[in-house]
Amino acid sequence: MAEISLRVNGSAHELDIQPQVSLLDALREHLGLTGTKKGCDQGACGACTVLADGERINSCLAPAVQYEGREITTIEGIGHPLQEAFVHADGLQCGYCTPGQICSAIGMLAEHKDGMPSAVTEHLAVTGGELDDAEIRERMSGNLCRCGAYNGIVSAIREVAG
């Protein structure tokens, strides 16, 4: 067992957990923050996406003990125009992928602003180029939606990205 302190959504939590426990399980089972979802537990679906110091990560692949001292933000700690935009654009059906999509989109918008290119970025020299639909789709492709709400998710992100 390892004693760690995790900062989640602005407050500190003391935890006594086995070193192999993922950040996802720590959030869901130990802290009762079930807004972050588990779709595969192997880094393939993005349902578990949270922000660590503002960067998007798959929390199922992140050992909780390594995140001591980082600022974790989960869907419960997010108040962002994307949430409204998702509802309005119907970027969700069952809602199971939704927290991950929203966290991922927030992280993605920041990456784009910082000039991080994607596989479809044409000009690497131009930072902060236009975030068109192809860019959004490429950059969001780590977040699966089996309900197929992709069109709505892209328009919600486009709307908020302005």
Partner: protein, 726 residues
């Protein structure tokens, strides 16, 4: 102002975007324990020894349950039409009741521990020795063993008109084609999960289910308690697509583990567990043979299929269903054959039958159009029937002509050069294809209560399922219009077996079924308010209730007493059969696809999509479009990437995970335009035909047809991966 039809935001959107919605694995209970499954590693035989010592020694382990120490479970009920809930058994196996193994992946032990990490760790340490028995697991090799399926009046296994084989032999133009489709898995993003809690002999289960009432009935039978003592809750379900209609081992074993340990137990399946313990779509081998005159009149239509079930259960897939209705051929022969294998039962997956059946039929029609040098839409119009081709029954609704006319216009079909490999965009080969979508419409009995309070608010109660279809939003719209109150005044309670009984979410029937109940209850409510008004005066519901000194007025459709339910079901089945004799009811549509294919790598990108649908009345234009898009997205996966790989030697699924089973991702999905004809069906409640499944039908064929147009290559074996184009 009517509320029905408006594209309102879904009412449960906010709880889903804030993380407040709790799914089945997310209910906290004091003393909650966690369970994990141990899968069998042979496909058939007996367990000779179980080694559980190491697992039991893992710190935090509470119990290791096996057939040697698990509490008794009653056998699964035999399937009978008198008890519809008997249809819900995923398999006939008594889990942890026997040393027999019936499929690779069957749970042979359940570990219960204080944490999920401990349960998983211990589960991995359980070992078994087996005495294997010969097993038949290779579908392709078993084709010759398939036997014609015994049908029933609602789902015939065979149908014929005239002599199709003779007509085929005599036809001026004939094609005889073989298509194959692989197994598929639903992969609802929420893996199946159950939280089971016993209070004495009463059981409460939070489950990921599309069949709340049937789960309740089934659990009562398996645990030998009255149905009234079982409560099933499922207000949020993370997608189902048919995979959560049947009751699979996880649900039963969670309740069994809770009973054995006296603790509330959560069993959240891993993604791999879902593949091993929840059935998927059967693979299929299909023959479509078409005979036609030179000017494109069909003289013969033959469609036969071979699919599989499990020896322990499964459904005969209705592969030829759409072929009874889509084309006016003089001679028709349809037959579905099945072969049971030593694999987990197959189960329904979004448009079971039609999704793979339309692939073969609608691709074959395109091949015939090419053979005849005729536009594929024109060929369809020349064979569009006025009445049901098999038996002359009337169509309750049929708007395929309109769907194609609207679609061709909007999609720019006239810009298509019919010659294969003739259109390009830079280096990309461009192709356009069409196919028909078709899915039968059903309606079942739903019990509903509607309460109107003196403050003007309305409460609709019905234990229906919500997996993302937008049911609460749609039913609130329907009740608002029926009672003439604002949409915001209506609240809908659902997802709980303590509510009035709803049919399961299957057959695209839920919206129409519940709407039928809502309309009936609202009608009664209005009549009783009118009667009250005659006695006491008052002209609005609020004033009537105030003068009558009542806090609310309530009315119900159907009754949830035991007798009420049975008589309701009997009345309903009689009605259904009567209606089936009179009408053919279905949702349909025209799917338009544009693809781009890389001539060097064979990579296929879908660049545009349009679906024009006849789903009768559109209750909510926003959520209905989302459902249809969702069907199309799943169809694109079926067309281009999805395939469950079963080891033909061992029967083990080899790609049991989302990293190896490829569902469509954001980058695969272009803007999908959905258009509705929005014309009420005269025979269905409110004119609703259902939107959950028709969207996936025809999709794979439209893609295959577009790929052929782009490249000149026909792929008759799904998925259309690049190796098949090189």
């Amino acid at each position: 102002m009517t509320v029905i039809g408006r594209p309102l935001d879904r009412v449960d959107g906010r709880v889903k975007t804030t993380g407040a919605a709790r799914f089945a694995a997310e209910h906290p209970y004091p003393g909650l324990a966690h369970a994990a499954l141990v899968p069998a590693t042979i496909s058939r035989g007996r367990i000779t020894t179980l080694h559980t010592g190491e697992a039991s020694a893992v710190p935090g382990v509470i119990a290791v349950l096996t057939h040697l120490n698990a509490p008794e479970l009653k056998p699964a009920p035999k399937v009978t039409p008198l008890r519809l809930s008997s249809l819900v058994s995923g398999t006939s196996v008594g889990y942890l009741q026997t040393d027999e193994v019936h499929w690779d992946g069957q749970p042979i032990a359940v570990v219960v521990a204080e944490t999920s990490a401990a349960a998983r760790e211990a589960a991995a340490l359980v070992r078994a020795d087996y005495a294997p028995a010969p097993a038949m697991v290779d579908f392709a090799a078993a084709e010759a063993d398939a036997r014609p399926q015994r049908g029933n009046p609602l789902m015939p296994g065979e149908a014929k008109k005239g002599d199709a084989e003779a007509a085929l032999a005599a036809a001026p133009v004939a094609l005889d084609l073989r298509y194959t489709t692989p197994p598929h898995h639903h992969n609802a993003l929420e893996p199946h999960a159950t939280t089971a809690v016993w209070d004495g002999d009463r059981l409460t289960v939070h489950d990921a289910t599309q069949a709340i009432d049937w789960f309740r009935a089934h659990l009562a039978v398996r645990f030998g308690i009255p149905a009234a003592d079982v409560r099933v809750l499922a207000p949020f379900v993370g997608g189902g697509f048919g995979g959560k209609v049947s009751i699979w081992p996880g649900t039963i074993l969670a309740a069994l583990a809770a009973r054995a340990t006296g603790r509330p137990v959560r069993l959240a399946l891993t993604r791999e567990d879902v593949y091993r313990t929840v059935g998927g779509r059967t693979p299929s081998i299909q023959r479509v043979a078409l005979g036609a005159t030179r000017d494109g009149k069909l003289t013969a239509l033959v469609h036969t299929s071979v699919t599989r079930t499990g020896r322990v259960g499964g459904l005969p897939e209705q592969v030829t269903s759409q072929s009874r209705h889509l084309y006016d051929a003089e001679n028709i022969f349809l037959r579905q054959s099945i072969v049971p294998l030593d694999l987990l039962s197959n189960t329904s997956m979004r448009a079971p039958g039609e999704s793979i059946g339309t692939f073969a039929l609608e691709a074959a029609i395109d091949e015939l159009a090419c053979e005849l040098d005729l536009d594929p839409i024109e060929l369809r119009m020349r064979n569009e029937p006025a009445v049901n081709p098999m038996d002359g029954k009337k169509f309750a609704h049929r708007m395929l002509r309109e769907a194609y006319a609207v679609g061709a216009e909007r999609f720019g079909w006239h810009e298509r050069d019919p010659r294969p490999r003739s259109m390009r965009d830079g280096r990309w080969l461009v192709g356009m294809g069409v196919a028909s979508a078709y899915h039968p419409s059903w309606r079942f009995a739903a019990n509903v209560t509607v309460r109107l309070s003196a403050d003007g608010t309305v409460l609709v109660r019905c234990g229906f399922q919500e997996m993302g279809m937008g049911g609460a939003t749609a039913q609130a719209q329907i009740a608002a219009d029926a009672l003439g109150v604002p949409f915001e005044a209506v609240r809908v309670e659902y997802g709980d077996s303590a509510l009035p009984m709803s049919p399961n979410a299957g057959g695209s029937a839920q919206t129409a079924s519940v709407a039928g109940g809502v309309l009936e209850a609202c009608g009664r409510l209005k009549r009783s308010l009118a009667a009250m008004a005659r006695r006491t005066g008052g002209d609005t519901p609020e004033t009537i209730l105030r003068r009558a000194n009542l806090p609310y007025a309530e009315a119900a459709a159907g009754s949830d007493t035991r007798f009420g339910r049975i008589s309701g079901q009997v009345r309903f089945m009689a009605n259904l059969l009567r209606e089936q004799r009179r009408w053919v009811k279905a949702a349909s549509g025209a799917q338009f696809c544009e693809v781009r294919v890389d001539p060097d790598t064979g990579e296929v990108r879908v660049s545009r999509w349009l679906g024009v649908f006849d789903i009768g009345t559109v209750v909510n234009a926003k959520t209905a479009a989302s459902q249809l898009r969702g069907g199309i997205v799943m169809g694109l996966g079926m067309a281009l990437s999805e395939e469950t790989l079963v080891d033909p030697r061992t029967g083990r699924i080899m790609n049991a995970g989302l990293a190896e089973y490829h569902v469509p991702v954001h980058a695969d999905i272009p803007p999908i335009e959905v258009s509705f004809l929005d014309d009420p069906d005269p025979t269905m409640p409110l004119g609703i035909l259902g939107a959950g499944e028709v969207g996936i039908t025809g999709v794979a064929a439209a893609v295959a047809n577009a790929v052929h147009h782009a490249t000149g290559t026909r792929v008759r074996d799904l998925p259309i991966t690049l190796d098949k184009l090189l």
